[in-house]
Subunit: 326 residues, 2 copies
């Protein structure tokens, strides 16, 4: 059945099943922010054919990724999630099954964090677009800002990078990656389809009680470091040999290619944090699995990738190799 | 100049001029909700060719209307605005001037209410779509819900209806409305292009201290009354002769047509409120200019339009004459 056969009223009623009954049915949703907390708000827009496509993304995966990207932005601020709103535009010819799958994917991603869909809006368009606004809360003094990095800080990543880019490549070109085991192949594809927002890492960080700056690596690790340095008016040196990528990648591509994907591939949705070296060491130890110190913040404004082996020349990281929307 | 010639980084920098410097530059915006208040959240999606078009809507008007529609939803909840986020998808060929105009229109509408743009997201698509999420705050006990109407309540509209529909008609068919003065024509067109969210009426209502139910009439007066009755499990009787429409309309169309536009035209963005008759009388008196008691809430579930003159038979109001997205 297509959306236009269902009609608007029936469509709204169907989608409201995915929202708590207590929050829908008015012109706006009401919710509470705890005393002493600030509200955190972030908006993402996802477009069919650009952020997801039938070739690589099922309806449930599209929903999961949309929700995960927004929860990741909340994690990047050190916030705990309160809920999301969903604005949808879609063609009348869209299958209702697709829409159900998309909402189910969102709910699957949100549920472990007890995060409700607070309502939204739906309208007709020739292109499917999903606009999500995520709301969270954070104690004012615990908000993680981009502008708080200091020279001498260690740069920490909460997990390996490049897996999402590798998974996308395998989805687009299934003939690739012959050297991978089936299990490794499935893990890489899952990293692309079902990224995990690192709200858990926020709790680990908070328990350390350390000052920190940070953001997520949705646009790539290199982009995150460059943005952090720009906002904090500092520079950074990353060490090529410290950048964690899935070890299985070397059964498929060169190490240089793997590091390129780790730096510029994007959509890994890990956190990139700058904090004093002692605290950084403890954080990496507690996070385990792919978390690593990848370099340090410098007073000089350059953002450089170094190679201790001497095989590669020192090179500046570049914003232009990341994904450009226009 | 086109958006794709400007590039993403320059585009973001350009649009950030419309946001307070203190709230942008991180993965999410931070803001405060006052103690004792609940957060109010509403999302609207507007699509080029459906909610606005070059034929009827300049870039500034498109921006104004998008902001106004969302502020109206906050007013409908009895809330005061805190800020909006803007998700934008647009073709690379869009003129940067259009985008500037759209943001200026939003700011023009928001400024009298000291409401900032808190950031958002921008991406490429074949269709221009604007997704706005508005945030507001309201004291829990002062939230205006749809479900609180009681039999015996008066039904109040905060202003005349049908002007937006008339203005749209004049924009689409400039040869129409020969009987109108230039001033009246301009007022009707302005009602369509620059609707005023009734946050002022919320303050008037609050000062009365009366219990009330309500919503806005963005989808038409008839739709609002039907939704209120459905949510409150009551009915209503509206009096045809009490429904306020711009008096100038009778120099152009029949009274029956004017009332049809008032009931089903939509986008007048007035509030439709249900409250005890005494308080309703005082509210209408204080609001002036087009505000009126248009009927009353009944225990019987029917929603009827009556005609005291006897010219028209009693008829049920219908949801299906309003705008359907699918």
């Amino acid at each position: 059945m297509q959306v236009k056969q269902l009609g608007e009223q029936a469509l709204l009623k169907r989608l409201q099943r995915y929202c708590p009954a207590t929050v829908v049915g008015d012109d706006a949703a009401l919710l509470s922010v705890a005393v002493g907390y600030q509200l955190v708000v972030t908006t993402d827009m996802l477009i069919d054919g650009i952020h997801f496509s039938d070739r690589t993304t099922s309806a449930t995966d599209a929903g999961w990724r949309a929700a995960a990207a927004n929860l990741s932005d909340l994690a990047a601020m050190g916030a705990e999630p309160l809920g999301i709103t969903v604005g949808l535009s879609l063609p009348g010819e869209l299958e209702v099954d697709w829409l159900d799958g998309m909402y189910q994917g969102m709910v699957d991603c949100l549920q472990p964090f007890n995060t409700p869909i607070l309502g939204g809006d739906i309208c007709r368009s020739s292109v499917t677009a999903i606009a999500i606004t995520a709301l969270g809360q954070v104690r004012s003094e615990q908000a993680i800002r981009r502008s708080a990095a200091q020279a001498g800080d260690a740069v920490v990543v909460t997990g390996a990078h490049g897996a999402s880019r590798a998974g996308l490549e395998l989805l687009l070109h299934p003939e690739q990656g012959q050297g991978l085991t089936e299990a490794d192949r499935a893990l890489l594809i899952r990293a692309h389809q079902r990224p995990q927002p690192r709200l858990d890492a926020v709790q680990t960080l908070r328990a350390l009680g350390s000052r920190s700056a940070g953001m997520d690596s949705s646009d790539g690790l290199a982009d995150a470091v460059l943005q952090l340095c720009r906002a904090s008016q500092v520079g950074a040196q990353l060490e090529r040999n410290l950048i964690p990528f899935p070890p299985s990648l070397t059964a498929w591509i060169s190490e240089a290619q793997a590091i390129d994907w780790a730096l510029y591939g994007g959509e890994d949705f890990e956190l990139v944090l700058c904090l004093p070296r002692d605290a950084a060491g403890r954080l990496v130890e507690q996070l385990g699995a792919g978390a690593a110190i990848v370099g340090s913040i410098t007073a000089s404004p350059d953002v450089l990738l170094r190679d201790q082996s001497g095989l590669y020349p020192e090179q500046p990281l570049s914003l232009n190799q990341g994904f450009q929307h226009f």
